[in-house]
Structure formats: C-alpha cells, structure tokens
Amino acid sequence: MSDHLPVLQVLAPLLAAPVCALLRSARAAGALAVLASWATLAVALALLGEVRAVGVVSYAIGDWVPPIGIEYRVDMVNAWVLVIVGTIASVVSPYMIASVSSEVERRRIPLFYAAYLLCLTGLLGIAVTGDVFNVFVFLEISSLSAYALIAMGTGRRALTAAFRYLVMGSVGATFIVIGIGLLYVMTGSLNMADLAVLLPEVWDSRTVKVAYGFLGVGCCLKLALFPLHLWLPNAYAFAPSAVTAFLASTATKVAVYMLLRFFLTIFGAPFSFGTMALDRVLLPLALVAIASMSMVAVLQVDVKRLLAYSSVAQIGYVVLGLSLASVTGLTATLLHLFNHALMKGALFMAMGCVVYRIGSAHIDAMAGLGRRMPWTMAAFLVGGLSLVGVPLTVGFVSKWYLILGAIERGWWPVAVVVLLASLLALVYVWRVVETAYMRPYEGDGRAVEAPPGLLLPTWVLAAASIYFGVFAKSTVATAEQAARVLMSGVGS
C-alpha cells in the first residue's frame, strides 16, 4: 500500500470524479468529494513523512522503468506542494457542500463535484509527476475543469471570465507544450531527472534557450504573473465562492511549483540564474506586480475582486523570492505558497459566507456586518491582518524571510518596496474592516451569522494562519529543506 502512495495521490480523486458525475444525489456526491479530498490529504501527509525519511520517493507507473516509462517522483518540494493542495482541498470541500447549494443549480451539483475532483486530480498530478509531458496532461485536466467550475458562478460575467481564462490558459498550456517539445528534440527524454542530467550538455544551444522562454511564458501565464494576469481578477471575482477559495489557494501555487520545477530542477539553478539571468528578468516584473496590483486592489469596490488583485500582488511576492536567487529567497517563496494559501483561503471563504447571506460582495454591502456576522468578519480580520503581515500571523513569517533575503543580497530598494506594499495591503484590508465595523448596518434581516458548515472551515484556515504564524518552526524547516533541494538541482 505505502509503495503505491504516489499514484494513489492522483487516483483517489480521479476515480471519485466519474462516480460523482453519475450520482443523482447532491448530498452523496458532496460526501464523496469530501472523502476523496481527505484521502488526498492523508496520502500527501504520508508522502511527506516518507520523503522526510528517505529523501526521494520514485514510482514507476505500470512498472515501466523510469527514463522510458512515466515516473512519479516526489521530493521535499512536491511533497510540500501536495500537502498544501491536500490541506486546502480537505478544508474547502466541506465548505463547498453548504456554499454550492446556494450558488449552483441543484441538478448540476453532482457534476460540479466531478469537475472539482478532476481539477484536484490535475493539480495533484502536476505536483506528483516526474514526467514533463505528464505535467502538460494534468495541467489541461485541471485547467479544463477549472474553466467549467468558474463558468458555474452566478451572474453572466462568470461566463466571459471563464472564456477569457480558457483562451489565455490554453495559450499558456500550448506554450508549455512547445517548450516540452523543443526539450525533447534536444535530449530525447521527457523524464525530469533524466532531462536534468542531459541538459547541461546542450546548455549553449539556441533551441534550449527558446524552450526555456516558451516554458517560462507558459508557466507565468498560468501563475498569473503581471502582466499576464488579466484572466485572474474576473475569474476569481465571479466564480462560485468555494471555487474561488479553492483555486486561489491552489491553482496559482501549483503553477509556481511548475515554474520552480522547470527552471530549477530541470534546467538547474546555474543555467537559470547564470546564463538566462532569470533573477534579473523576474525581479522587475515581481516588483511591478506587487506595487501596481496592490494599488489596483485599493481601488476595487467588489471585495472578491479586491482580493483577487491582492492575489496577483501576492504572486509577485512569491516570484520575488525566486528572483532573489538564494536559499533564503526560495524559502520565502515556498513558505508564502503555504501561508498565502491559508490566509487567502480564509479571506475568500469569509467572503463566501457574506455572499451566502446577503448575495453580494460589494464593499457597500459590508456595512455593519462586524456586528451582524461577528465570526465571519473576525475571520476576515484575521486573514486580512495576515495579508498585511502583522506579526504572529503567517503573513509576517514569509515577509520576514523575503526581506531578509533582499537584505542579504543588499537589495535595499526591494525590501522597501515589499514593506510599502504591505502598507497598501493595510489600506485595502482596512477599507473592508472599517466598513464592516464602523458603519451602521443598512440592509434587511438577511444578514445573520453564517451557518456552521461555512464558518467552521473558514475558521480552520483563519486559525491555521495564526497557529503557523506563532509556531512556524515546522513550516519554515520544511520550506527551507525544499529550497535547498531546489537550489542544489536534482534532489539526491
């Protein structure tokens, strides 16, 4: 059983998905989705434990020996990403049950769960596989189901948002296929570990550099790095609340993982930072993303969209860590993947509670909710403070490492930009908090506290974003270990 952990990671949701689609009862489908999500978390944790013990877990699909057959290869980095995805999935899926019933047509609910499980499959697959073409396949599985999930949102703008995402996502995925194809032409291999060994011989070839470019642009499209982020705000703003919470905390995170894997494991840190000057390309983009998107977030009136722009800014932090090209920087990146997943998940779920009760995420509708929905808004406050980076929250821990990394490299202006952007975060978070707590309630009697089915998962993430802010030792240690693996190239 434990030998098959890597494949089980993907199989659990993959097999549950068609069953969900066939089920007639929304309740049964929901229960199955929750079970499958919890199973993935269990498997991911088991994998992390095993990776801690033995270093690298390799699994040959169908017993075909690695360079030829498809290999699932788990080291510290993807074990970490798997845990992130698994955690979010197992928290968001119970939330879905209550939230979806108010936002999606009843007869479509089983299909909704099927799409969710497929999306989860795809995301986990990207993280677990050691074969580059397999990455593409899983990428498309997750993307296609994500388009469908977003389109199920209420309001017609969900449809156009999904369409836009589809167009940009497909272009991104196609870029990635081109890059993979060019790599294959040069090396004749699709296995990541194998590629990492073969590529240094052909580092100088122009084809490899072109492949690098295609992969880079493709990944950046999927992870919504400024200026390739245009699909994200509307997609997050108009998708069903549970989907937003899920995608915001997982999809872009997995895309970042993909980028790290391609650039640092396959091409290797010396090639990326030496020959291609990746740090110098990403640094300005990341800084512009952080600064400009935080400013745009300040100007939003729809809170879900405000949070979406903040996500783009936060992706800037993640990429900034990468462009610091040091273990500290990468630690910050990997930490922030987890930490941002926690806090943004909590924030979007709190907004989902609000939408569930009053049917709007407009900032005007928040007035007085601090008293009408105290627990919901308290969760929002916790998530928001974490976003700002107030100490004893997760946001602070990752920001600390980011600033430390910048100072270690002597990049003072970078540290200053990061800090100033935290202040912008304070502004947009505080707008909502102030509206909720300081303005009188104006609506009708609909705004009462959200049901426990929604509140509980929200508070799990909110509490986690405090817990891991106070006791960050384990997460920091894991992230740092993963960062070392990435910087040293192929994990031993």
């Binding site: 296609l144 449809l159 369409f163 589809l166 497909s170 296929v177 032409v185 699709l190 005007d364």
Partner: protein, 180 residues
C-alpha cells in the same frame, strides 16, 4: 544559403506560419467563435511541430518490420517509445520516432476538449449577453462595473478619487441618478 535554410527546415516555417496565423486570429478577432478557431489553428501548429520532429530522414514508419513471414503485428511499440524494441534486423532498419506522435495524440484530445468547452461557453455567453462580439460584451460589462462603482460612493476611495476630474463624473453626479 538562405533559401537552403528555408527549404531544409520547411516544416518549421510551416509551423511558425500556422502559429502566427492562429495567434493573430485569436488576438484580433472579436467574435468568440472566431477566437476559438484561432486557438485551434494555434494548437494545430504545435501538433505539426511534434509530428514533424518525430520523422527521421530515411526512416520507415515505426511499425515492426518482419524479416520473413508473418510476425505478431504491431505489438506495444507505441508505449515503449522505443527504437529499442526492434527485432533482429535493427541494425539495417531506421524507424521514425513514434513517441511524439503518441504524445500528440493526447494533445489532440486535449485540444478537442478545449474547443468543446470553449464553444459551449460561447453559446452560453450568447444566451446571456445576446451577442458574441467582444466589444459589445466589454461595453455591457463596463456599464455593470460603473454601476457597482457608483454604489460605493461615500467610501474613502471616493473621497480621494473625487478630487480627480475623470472619476468625479463617475462619483458625484451620477450617484444621485443611481439613487433615483
């Protein structure tokens, strides 16, 4: 020289041409269905890239050639990806690489899925907006956003932006209309 470059790598030029045609269609056309068509052409160019690179000069199709009599047919050559799976005549026969073809089979399936999801979305957009032209849709959405913006007046952002002429038109007077 240059002509030589064109001719010897003609497959790449075709791929690049197709790619640009597809990409251009995708970007320049406002009609959602035409965008999907552009996306399709764009993806197809990548299929061509893969297929053409699998070919090896002078290679035969990757079907196991039996020296004499009948063999066991086409076996599992596709999954192995293997020139390594050849029979005893391996030394003489040069096979084309079948792996890219197999990969692209998957990619084609993915492409079809993308197309169908895209078309389905286009249909629903048409139902919801009454149009498939991007300009129209954008106009409708901008109006919706303006309406949302007006609703939030009285908030700090409006206080700040109210000082700028461009946004003032949005905040102060039309807010009164929204009330009425």
């Amino acid at each position: 020289m240059i002509i030589d470059l064109f001719v010897s790598h003609y497959n790449y030029w075709v791929v690049i041409l197709l790619m640009m045609v597809g990409f251009y269609t995708l970007i320049s056309r406002g009609n959602l269905v035409k965008k999907i068509v552009g996306l399709n052409v764009f993806q197809t160019s990548v299929f061509m890239l893969y297929i053409s690179m699998g070919r090896i000069k002078g290679g035969t199709p990757p079907i196991l050639v039996e020296p004499k009599g009948t063999g066991k047919g086409h076996g599992g050559a596709d999954t192995s990806g293997g020139v390594e799976m050849m029979g005893e005549t391996a030394a003489e026969i040069l096979y084309s690489n079948p792996l890219p073809h197999v990969l692209i089979l998957t990619a084609i399936v993915v492409g079809i899925a993308v197309t169908s999801v895209g078309l389905a979305l286009a249909v629903r957009v048409k139902e919801a907006y009454g149009t498939m032209e991007e300009d129209e849709i954008n106009r409708i959405e901008e109006e919706m956003e303006e309406a949302e913006w007006r609703r939030g007046r009285g908030e700090i952002i409006h206080e700040i932006l109210g000082k700028f002429p461009a946004r003032r038109a949005l905040t102060a007077p039309s807010g009164a209309e929204a009330d009425a």
